[in-house]
């Protein structure tokens, strides 16, 4: 009887332990907080680093994230690509993953961070204050690849409240350099309102600081931030460019139309609206800064909770990923034409039309 009671207690304790440990995450031997993303880099990968290499204060926090480096045998410029600023904007994450799993760099360097806000993929809490589109969507997406079914994490728009370390400001969020009216308080945890970042604030601001340091220390020439938007909204199918590099963007979009029949809208950064990547990266670093927005059916205002964000007939994930990648390639080409010594030459990627029509599956490892 006594033994039975002990066994039951031990089982209950074990169950409690298992439930209390997040299945997604752990910490490695050096204290790095790990979210177990299944990304399988191509042979072209030179090395993997971490955001905490650029700001050690991120080490051991859910804001740390892997940085993938691809280096060409010939000198050239440096291209930075960030996905996952918002964990629910899955095409941005998957475009970065597709690059990691296929890319070869012939000249210059490419740096890819597929989950810029790694905390944002750790949760999908239905926070009452956040608009529904920010947390709607599956917990995971699955894609059939040549090696079997692959799973990728779909998250939320903002840093996990439990990770931020500082409460959302009671009177609403105001960027420290902004003169504008306060934004909703939860925007304090929106990475794309936090640049250039700071180290004396919440986790989101620390992540932003680390990303900015990547751009400065790696002498990045071109920086892309991959996003998604309401499929029927104004932002969908758009490239936003810092005013200093809007000419590069215009020439690239022109080429995209000619080469692939792909028409994207163009907007310059609003320099009065502080904290956005394209605005702050362009102003605070030497990089030409761009942001691309593709149409996510899960972000439509009245989308059903079980919306299919992968196989949407109008905007399938493959076509959205193709838009991000080929916009970037077009910009890199235009930039290289004006800066011959800073050319970035890439290969190994699927053709635009193949990716758009066949989806990502055949091109994942």
């Amino acid at each position: 009887m006594h033994t039975r009671k002990s066994v039951a207690l031990a089982a209950a304790a074990l169950l409690f332990f298992c439930l209390s440990v997040p299945s997604l995450s752990a910490q490695d031997i050096r204290g790095r907080y790990l979210i177990q993303h299944d990304y399988r880099p191509s042979d072209g990968l030179a090395r993997i680093g971490w955001l905490s290499d650029y700001y050690p204060g991120l080490l051991g926090t859910p804001g740390d994230s892997k940085v993938y480096y691809f280096e060409g045998s010939k000198p050239g410029g440096t291209l930075f690509i960030g996905g996952g600023t918002h964990g629910n904007e899955i095409a941005g994450i998957m475009a970065a993953v597709l690059l990691i799993e296929n890319l070869k760099v012939e000249a210059g360097r490419v740096i890819v961070v597929p989950n810029m806000n790694n905390s944002a993929v750790s949760h999908q809490e239905k926070e009452s204050l956040l608009p529904s589109y920010t947390t709607r969507g599956p917990a995971w997406i699955s894609i059939q690849s040549p090696s079997g079914q692959r799973f990728f994490k779909y998250g939320s728009r903002c840093t996990n409240l439990a990770h931020q370390g500082v409460p959302d400001p009671a009177g609403g969020y105001v960027h420290p350099d902004s003169n504008e009216a306060p934004l909703p308080a939860w925007e304090f945890r929106n990475l794309n309102r936090a640049y250039p970042g700071r180290i004396d604030s919440g986790l989101t601001q620390k992540i932003a600081y680390a990303v900015t340091q990547v751009l400065i220390r790696e002498k990045v020439d071109i920086a892309f931030d991959y996003h998604e938007a309401d499929a029927g909204g104004r932002l969908a199918n758009m490239m936003v460019a810092n005013p200093k590099n809007i000419g590069t963007a215009a020439a690239a979009l022109f080429d995209l139309e000619l080469d692939h029949g792909l028409s994207l809208k163009l907007e310059p950064s609003n320099m009065e609206f502080r904290g956005l990547s394209h605005r702050e990266w362009g102003a605070g670093t030497d990089a030409q800064a761009f942001l691309t927005e593709t149409p996510n059916p899960g972000m439509v205002e009245n989308a059903p909770p079980d919306v299919d964000v992968v196989n949407d007939p109008k905007n399938p994930l493959g076509s959205r990923v193709a838009k991000h990648i080929y916009s970037t390639l077009a910009v890199a080409r235009v930039y290289g034409e004006s800066n011959p010594g800073r050319m970035i030459l890439m290969s190994g990627l699927p053709a635009y039309e193949d990716l758009a029509s066949q989806g990502l599956g055949p091109y994942l490892r």
Binding site: A251, F254, L266, P268
Partner: protein, 183 residues
């Protein structure tokens, strides 16, 4: 038989292209391109003009007093952007006043005027339409991306102003008719 058919088709295609160009080649270089509504479409048109090798200068905010006889053709890239107007620090009303003054001065200088609307349906709306009406009334020719004329506004305004209107499917297709408009 096949050969005759092919020759006829080639002749017809050639004749069509020549007649189109003859009808529209009225504008002189260099051109001055400005934005009417401060949208980023202005940047796209600068690329288009460069690629079409049309000599031009560009000033998105040029005022009537800045216009002079050194430019022979005024190209208006029309379509309002509240963000662009805000960034430029001007109101929609001020943009309309600048437009009307610019068009009056262009007429005094006997400049050719070409309106371009390349932003499609998303570059329409009350603010854009007011500017479009002013531009079309004073233009010699207009090129629009077809999705911007789904309601027939440009077609009606072109008929009213008795000017030629060319509709293209995409922005990148606007280069050929624009180049053909120049002598």
């Amino acid at each position: 038989m096949k050969k005759t058919f092919l020759l006829c088709a080639l002749f017809l295609a050639f004749a069509a292209s020549v007649s189109g160009q003859q009808g529209l080649a009225f504008a002189e270089k260099p051109a001055l391109v400005t934005s009417i509504g401060q949208s980023a479409d202005f940047e796209m048109i600068k690329v288009l003009l460069s690629r079409a090798k049309i000599a031009f200068t560009a000033d998105p905010l040029i005022k009537a007093e800045g216009l002079n006889a050194s430019s022979k053709t005024l190209i208006l890239v029309v379509g309002a952007s509240s963000k662009g107007l805000g960034a430029a620090g001007i109101s929609a009303e001020d943009e309309l006043k600048r437009t009307n003054a610019l068009l009056k001065k262009a007429k005094e200088l006997k400049m050719s005027v070409i309106t371009l609307h390349v932003g499609g349906a998303s570059r329409r709306g009350a603010m854009s339409d007011t500017l479009i009406k002013s531009c079309m009334a004073a233009s010699d020719y207009a090129i629009v991306v077809a999705s911007g004329d789904e309601d027939g506004l440009f077609t009606a305004l072109a008929a009213q102003a008795k000017i030629a209107l060319t509709k293209v499917e995409r922005l990148s297709s606007a280069g050929a008719p624009l180049a053909a408009a120049f002598k």
